[in-house]
Symmetry: C2
Subunit: 702 residues, 2 copies
């Protein structure tokens, strides 16, 4: 059995738990852990070398004295003692250890050395470690609170995994207010052994967990995380809040693609591919987890709003639409049923404003009718406390109806303490409750859009050719042999052509006479561009001349380019010119690029290209390789897609063919792993087809 | 003295207040109002025809019995009785009346008739009315609670004006939780008389008010609102939450400009021009009002973050940057001062992470040092409750320091009930407190960016020429005489040229021979376009032929256009062609447009043009007319501005000249008010200058 296949059962479903370093010293972590574990429904054992008794419980003097079937040990001793303790645990046959102790790699080289020692011991014994430097682990259903937190989480169906111990206490504290319950609450610490991948796999399979929520500061083993996230998100929603969106320092990069893709954008693409719902704020993490934990998943994006005041309903619609939701259209039968009992001035549409004097019965009956409408994917009930409103009675009336509704039910009882009893009744009824109606609508929209996107995620992958054509390999080898990492434009195009992509014919010429000969063969008009082994931004040094109509023009252009480059950069950068046919304008200029993310590997970029690429910022990225279906989705995430699809009477391009090309391109970095970056910009797409006008390929430094 | 100049003093600073319809009937609005007014520090009078005593207070039988100096009457009687009551109030010389009673225009024609009667009486007597159909008015400082709400707002410096009575109770309820205090709390009801304009003027001048917050459902008298908002926002912050962003149905429009500008976008532009800070959600309305009411205005966008945990600091930076804020850079002296007393592993930068064991003294000293840094425009203090954290003691320690800091101070004590005592200490210290650190950073950024924009708002207006050139008038008159609202392309260009804008020469030709003659005079290559009195989208009917190089090509193009238009639309739409020189590519295609908003009048649109205008969605709008400075700001709100400014080595265009043209264009709809819409698309801007290639003008229907 490989290491990663060992289950985390001893960690989350232990029968016997031992505290190593149990003490009754007031204010100590060791005492807090023992106190917290008092409610554990299994068997609790304490180990203390000196004192036969701690907090009224007998202790064992040595780890070796523990019964053979001890599943989990919680270690709270100072760092230097931990390796020996771990060795003893291994001998005692303990399955998992939570190391709460700090003082490891975060303190410097010595601590890092200690960590290596721990890992070695654990790996050798097949023992799993959580931490070090963490708050610990809670499993509320079994009363397991192996932490030094001041309170125990409520039982429920959310598995919460946090990389910040500091945040855990705050989150717990909030969770009581929000009424959230947890299947497990894990502070992951340094993730020396048990990491995101293990935990995602575990909770994906855990029947007590229906939502997995992560607070991340770093991805750790990025590929393991992604693979596990993909597996988990197929089974239940995975929500991620990650700090440090803007931390990514601008990377110096030789290509447009390198500059546009930043590590957070790549992380975002990776999460999308893994089917993870990414949220932006702490509040959203809660609100989203709450909706997914308490309500059935919305089958679509159409929300029906029931309210006793117009303004709050309108605010909710604004936010719903802004985040991709759709106000449900009420069916004629629904309108008829509502007309039959509502006062005449009701809004006769969605939001259904049933007026300021609405009482419990009117609310309950309207909700029942609205929920039965087949065009409704979820419902939001808004209550503003008005002079005749009994907010508790309305909430109580909804409890009854709610049990018969199999769609997501959200509510906003607007106000503070005055509507608190009503809110509590809503919580009892299993309705997701939000302080503000606009917040509720936004969370519904984000969840519904995410689930819809996930339903449309292609499952099968197009087969990826693993080897590269010999000629493409040769292009790479040739540049390497010359000690270059930069391929010339002509070499770049040759490589792409070898991989089956259409490029504009491109011939190099060292002398003006050669250039004229090439032009005559190609036919006028032509384009001349600098051919250089060293310079990559040709326009910047006056290295591009368009629309040359005869031999004289070619000659002049050749000399102009040589002069301009010599003056601006130096004669050594001029190695001749490349000659290409002038492609008539028409169609669209696009960019297609690839770069290499240190964590996630090859990344593909697509978007509006040409000189405007940085001005328009109309690009989207995804991880390589892409299936044609995924390439379609990448294209669909840009604004230029509308032009490509033939908006406003423009001639549409063949989007299937384009997606095929993009998918084919996306395999190149995997087939030729020596490639660091590729820029195809512009490539021209029109009714007539797809052709690469300029290309630049950079190899990885050796 | 004109009506609008009458002050609202009797309304908000009355000495004597009378309740008309005072009653002790349990559950009645009349009783609630009397009870609420019990705390009024002035003189309270009750009027009841039948009962000599209400709730233990003596009543007067008739309004005529009121003392002559009664400032304010509160009316709670049924609607039909209100006009007569108002007449009696007028005779009694009462200055202002709050009509809480409902049952007016919201119930139909009869109610609307009643309203007209009320207004007539009030206007004749110079009496101001609030309502009808409102919750009433509160002035906490004087104990004036002329509402039927269940609680009185806390005194403070926020004037809150709400168009939704239903929302008022919820807002009040929340305000207690958030600890917000009000100088006045006004439910505006139907705004029959006193509207946004009056209230903004009043509270702009009110020394007890430092922030004005509005919840709007409609702008009412839009121009009066805007003028008053502009006047007010110069003196103090004005915050607006408006419901119904997405209500604006797509308007059928003959022009691109008409389709892009929607009424909410125009409202947005109007608010920006008025210096109003628009928020999107109820929560933001509170959070923003709180910051502005309790803190000095941030002088810039640079926020310094002090925290005892890294993750929450990173989340705050993410949101700060996303909303336009900037993490402050710590000066060397600041770093030195912090290094001198902080433990070595502190973060040595911003966010200043002073570690999990930070106590009150470390927090207080670090805050003092950070606040003294001249590169800091505001501070956010984050506390996560960790094992050694005393959240109350830290808050208490900050109280002392806070009094010496003259920059905005925000705090987030993370968690629920556990940190509540700390939060209360923060509130006592006058620190703006937020549940989540990312929320705090977002609100700081939005406020700082808004104030910075406002500081850069141009104050003076370029003079606007009020009359139009005779030739431009003639173009309009000619189309009118022919019963057309659509000007031909040639007419549109003539009008624009008459107004001083450069257009490409455009000659019409009814026959192929004429077209050739015009082309010969102009010089080849030329463009031929359909000339039609009826069709406006020429490309759609095959009505455009580019790059014609000789007479034969012109002839062919003429016949092709006639054939295509005849086939696709009918021969009657073909009135010949227009001949124009072919402008060489290069530079940028822009759109400049004007449309007419029913509330706000002429609106100007600027952005990336050509066929991609709807694909790129890179446009910005503002109200006409624009000064050159405002035109610069309009241009600056598009992405294409970067290309125009010469990004990445592109040749920059003369932005000053472009802004002058845009400003000149923006005066045309005011000089020629018969114009409904104008589309200049594309106009080409390059190093060489500015030229309008195509134009379309639509007149208002008569």
């Amino acid at each position: 059995m490989t290491h990663s296949m060992k289950t985390l059962q001893p960690l989350f479903a232990p029968r016997r738990v031992a505290v190593i370093g149990a003490t009754d010293k007031p204010g100590s972590v060791g005492r807090a852990v023992v106190e917290n574990l008092a409610g554990f429904t299994g068997h609790l054992l304490l180990v203390n070398r000196k004192h036969p008794e701690v907090l009224g419980r007998p202790t064992l003097a040595r780890i070796a004295d523990l019964p053979a079937s001890t599943d989990l040990a919680v270690v709270v001793t100072p760092a230097p003692a931990v390796p020996d303790i771990l060795r003893e645990c291994a001998v005692a046959g303990i399955g998992a250890v939570v190391i709460i102790s700090a003082g490891f790699k975060e303190t410097g080289a010595e601590g890092a050395e200690l960590e290596r020692e721990l890992l070695e011991v654990a790996r050798a014994a097949g023992m799993r470690l959580v931490g070090p430097n963490c708050l610990g682990v809670m499993v509320p259903a079994s009363g397991l609170n192996a932490t030094f937190a001041t309170a125990m989480a409520k039982p429920g169906n959310i598995a919460f995994l946090s990389q910040s111990g500091a945040l855990c206490t705050a989150i717990l504290d909030w969770s009581f207010q929000a009424g959230l319950g947890f299947s497990a609450f894990v502070s992951v610490g340094s993730m020396l052994d048990v990491g995101w991948g293990d935990l995602l796999d575990h909770f994906a399979a855990d029947p007590a967990t229906s939502v997995i929520a992560l607070y991340m500061e770093s991805a750790g083993d990025a590929r393991a995380f992604l693979r596990a996230a993909r597996r988990a998100s197929v089974r239940k929603p995975v929500i991620v809040l990650k700090a440090g969106r803007t931390e990514a320092a601008a990377r110096a990069a030789a290509s447009h693609t390198g500059a546009i893709t930043g590590s957070d954008a790549v992380f975002d693409a990776a999460l999308r591919r893994a089917g993870v719902l990414r949220v932006d704020t702490i509040a959203e993490l809660f609100q989203t987890a709450d909706l997914l934990a308490t309500q059935p998943p919305p089958p679509g994006r159409r929300l029906t709003i029931l309210t006793n005041a117009g303004g709050p309903g309108a605010l909710a619609v604004d936010m719903l639409v802004r985040h991709g939701g759709v106000p449900a259209t009420l069916a004629p039968a629904t309108l008829e049923a509502l007309n039959a009992f509502l006062p005449a001035p009701w809004s006769h549409g969605n939001p259904a404003d049933i007026l300021g004097d609405a009482g419990p019965e009117r609310y309950a009956r309207a909700l029942e009718i609205l929920a039965a409408d087949p065009g409704c994917d979820g419902l939001l009930v808004i209550l503003t406390p008005q002079s005749m409103t009994d907010s508790l009675a309305v909430a109580t009336a909804l409890e009854q109806v709610a049990t018969q509704i199999d769609k997501p039910l959200l509510a906003s009882w607007m106000g503070g303490q005055g509507v608190e009893p009503g809110r509590q009744a809503l919580a009892r009824a299993g309705i997701a409750s939000y302080a503000y109606p606009d917040t509720a609508a936004r969370i519904f929209a984000r969840v519904a859009v995410h689930l819809e996107e996930q339903r449309h995620q292609p499952v099968a992958s197009d087969p990826v050719p693993l080897s590269a054509p010999a000629e493409a390999e040769a292009c790479v080898a040739f540049a390497r042999a010359e000690g270059r990492t930069l391929l010339t434009e002509a070499e770049s195009k040759r490589l792409l052509a070898a991989c089956g992509l259409p490029v504009v014919p491109t011939r190099t010429a060292a002398e003006a006479g050669d250039a004229v000969r090439e032009a005559e063969v190609m036919g006028y008009p032509v384009v001349l561009k600098l051919h250089s082994l060293t310079l990559t931004h040709k326009s910047d040094v006056g290295g591009v001349r368009l629309n040359l109509v005869d031999a004289a023009a070619v000659r002049t252009a050749f000399h102009d380019i040589r002069e301009a480059v010599t003056a601006k950069a130096g004669a050594e950068h001029f190695a001749g010119v490349s000659v290409q046919p002038m492609i008539a304008p028409g169609g669209w200029e696009l960019i297609l690029g690839a770069s290499t993310d240190p964590q996630f590997g090859p990344v593909i970029l697509f978007g509006a290209g040409g000189v405007l690429v940085h001005v328009l910022e109309d690009t989207a990225i995804d991880l390589a390789p892409l299936t044609s279906e995924q390439a379609h989705q990448l294209i669909a995430r840009t604004r230029i897609r509308r032009a490509l699809a033939g908006a406003r009477g423009m001639a549409p391009v063949d989007l299937d063919a384009l997606a095929e090309r993009v998918a084919a391109f996306s395999t190149i970095p995997l087939r030729l792993p020596e490639i660091a970056e590729m820029d195809l910009n512009p490539l021209r797409v029109s009714e007539a087809g797809f052709v690469i006008l300029d290309a630049r390929i950079v190899l990885k430094a050796k």
